[in-house]
């Protein structure tokens, strides 16, 4: 579903990604872990071309996004992203946040977009907030709306970049529950997170990054119980204590 071949990303002299290869099959729930600045965001943002790789190849759903004149906008319709800072559209109601892109980008009718939007709002437990504006919601509620907005595009792939890092502790769980619920569906998921509990519970596979490289790659059991790399052990000992 997602294939990265020898991807490098430079910001000036900084090598944020160094020769990364990654293959994510359809339906996999991949969690990316790593210290701050290790290139996790850069990697996940290369999957939907919010960052353009300096070199290498990114193939998503059979389309080479690094090719000249690749249909990037078209592919993005089926690759939804949830951001750390929610990025809801503040001038639109919750319902309009969900229906705008399906209607404008995909040409779905208002009735159809609204019906499925209400379904997803119910799924994230926010049916009664449809007519509110984002500023009237708590952080946890906003992030659940952002997830519903992503779902209303009926994506094949969901990308999460630290979806709970901007939340107050008491709101983290409500958002994680929604994501875990999603993980039990057939969708392909890539999640950057520091929530180790979530990684254990929801991931099929965990990738550990350091200094722009993937240095550990395996099942959650492998990662937590039997990590190979010293850097991974050090990181785990710090974070799990």
């Amino acid at each position: 579903m997602i294939t990265l071949v020898d991807v490098c990303k430079h910001f000036g002299s900084l090598h944020a990604l160094q020769h990364v290869d990654l293959e994510v099959p359809a339906g996999q729930k991949l969690v990316i872990i790593g210290p701050s600045g290790s290139g996790k965001s850069t990697l996940i943002r290369c999957i939907n071309m919010l960052e353009k790789p300096s070199s290498g190849q990114v193939v998503v759903d059979g389309v080479d996004l690094t090719a000249h004149r690749a249909p990037v906008a078209k592919v993005r319709q089926s690759v939804a992203m949830v951001f750390q800072s929610f990025n809801l559209y503040p001038h639109k109601t919750v319902l309009d946040n969900l229906t705008l892109a399906p209607m404008v980008v995909k040409g779905v009718s208002r009735d159809e977009a609204t019906e499925s939007a209400l379904g997803y709002l119910q799924r994230v437990g926010l049916s009664e907030k449809a007519d509110k504006y984002p500023a009237q919601l708590s952080g946890g509620q906003q992030q659940r709306v952002a997830i519903a907005r992503a779902l209303n595009m009926h994506p094949k792939i969901m990308l999460f970049d630290e979806p709970t890092s901007a939340l107050d502790p008491e709101m983290i769980q409500e958002v994680l529950e929604v994501i875990i619920d999603l993980a039990n569906s057939g969708i392909t998921m890539v999640v950057v997170t520091h929530e180790m509990g979530f990684a254990r519970e929801a991931a099929d596979r965990v990738v550990f990054m350091d200094e722009g490289r993937i240095i550990e790659d395996g099942t959650p059991e492998h990662f937590f119980v039997n990590p190979q790399h010293d850097r991974t052990k050090l990181f785990l000992s710090k974070i799990l204590r």
């Binding site: 319709q77 951001f83 559209y89 705008l100 404008v104 980008v105």
Partner: protein, 235 residues
Amino acid sequence: MSDIFGRIGFLQEGPFAIPRWEAVFSNIDLLWQGALVTLTVASLGLALALALGTVLGVMGASHWTGPRAFARGYVEFYQNTPLLIQVFMIFNALPMIISGLFIPVITIGILGVGMYHGAYISEVVRAGIQSIGRGQLEAAVSQGFTYVGAMRYIIIPQAMRIVLPPLTNQAVSLIKNTSVIAIIAGGDLMYAGDAFAGRFGHYGPTYVLVGLGYFLMCFPLAILARRLEDRTRVA
């Protein structure tokens, strides 16, 4: 008694004497026609300036090198030369370059103020767009919006709230600046005033009325700008 007459003496003789006012008011439709021309040039010029300003502002805020450089060049050219000379050039030079070209004076006025204020408005629009956080554009394009689509549905509607007060100020100065076409016999309010005053010599009342005409067109916009500014401050 003589004291009062002394004070109202300016109504009996001098530039503001009552007979002069009467003469001006009996020919007021000349000024009316000028005011209508000014309103036409101002409203169509404003429409052009808004359209140009939006397109150039979006180009200026984009990451496309070519369009951004073009917008920059346009803005620098129009902001750093006097409107008077720009209008004069459209009037005189353009028909020389394209021989036989005849542009009606009203059209020259619309093009003149439209292109000039388009440059200023594009700077307002560009600053407005850049004041919206990067996350909004990223969220939009990640949903499959094109850059232009993201601007239209997500960025510009938010930027609008910020740029409305400075935009209204631009509209006010655009209205006043339509008076430059008076130098090319534009038939606008300023020109009508000049012609009228020159013909009959009643400069005082004529320019008071002309000034009042511009005030009546601009003042409501200035009030609107103040209101909008208050509202953004509260929000």
